[in-house]
């Protein structure tokens, strides 16, 4: 029979699944900031929407590249 501390501290499965969670934190914050700031900019100056969209796209692309590489490490680290 297991006592409470053993049950609470037990970890099953592959520790690499934690890696996805870690890989998701950074890009999530990054994309949130990028998109939020774009909303702010478009709200202030709607006529700049075109320029802000391009800059937002570049920001998202660089940030999501981290997420892609982080998830893709599943292929080699597991």
């Amino acid at each position: 029979m297991l006592d409470a501390t053993t049950v609470l501290a037990e970890i099953n499965g592959n520790i690499a699944t934690v890696g996805y969670g870690l890989a998701a934190i950074g890009p999530a914050i990054g994309v949130g900031i990028v998109v939020g700031k774009t909303i702010e900019g478009v709200a202030r100056q709607p006529e700049l929407a075109g320029q802000l969209q391009v800059l937002m796209y570049i920001g998202i692309a660089f940030t999501e590249a981290l997420a892609f590489i982080g998830i893709a490490t599943y292929f080699i680290f597991v």
Binding site: Y20, V31, V35, I39, V42, P46, E47, L48, A49, G50, Q51, Q53, V54, M56, Y57, I58, I60, A61, F62, E64, A65, A67, F68, I69, I71, A72, T73, Y74, F75, I76, V78
Partner: protein, 157 residues
């Protein structure tokens, strides 16, 4: 309120994003060829398949962002523009990552996949796609003014 134009003017980012998609596709072809050759030399037939799948995944998933912005820009000028824009772009982003995760889980244990080749070609595709983005952005001039309606020239729209 916008006037009753037959088609509201598109933001000035549209041609830039189209160019990013086009050049990205061209570069993806180049990376796929090089990757397939290297994969074939290193790991045989499964290496070729892995390199092609990896490059395709990287470029398609990176391109979905630009594509979703282009789709969302079709709502420009309507009252739902802001909501539709961020709904489509962020929704596309979320769906993309879910599909990417599912693909990873499905492909991981296939016998016809070389994980290292797939991983390296995904990285090559992602970095190549970033290079294309920056290159196109540096070479493009985005006008400041996007949704101001000028007196009609009616030559092109």
């Amino acid at each position: 309120m916008t006037s009753a134009l037959p088609r509201p003017p598109q933001p000035t980012s549209v041609p830039v994003l189209r160019r990013i998609l086009l050049y990205g596709a061209v570069l993806a072809g180049a990376i796929a060829v090089v990757g397939a050759v290297i994969g074939g030399v290193v790991a045989g037939g499964s290496g070729v398949v892995s390199a092609l799948i990896g490059t395709l995944m990287a470029v398609v998933f990176m391109g979905i962002t630009a594509g979703s912005i282009l789709v969302a820009n079709r709502f420009a000028g309507t009252s739902a523009a802001i909501g539709a824009f961020f709904g489509i772009v962020m929704g596309g982003w979320l769906v993309k990552f879910v599909v990417f995760l599912v693909l990873m889980v499905l492909l991981k244990d296939q016998s016809w996949i070389q994980p290292v080749v797939l991983f390296l070609s995904i990285i090559a595709g992602v970095i190549g796609s970033l290079l294309v983005d920056v290159f196109v952005l540096m070479r493009s001039r985005v006008p400041y003014v996007s949704d101001v309606t000028l007196p009609p020239s009616t030559s092109e729209d």
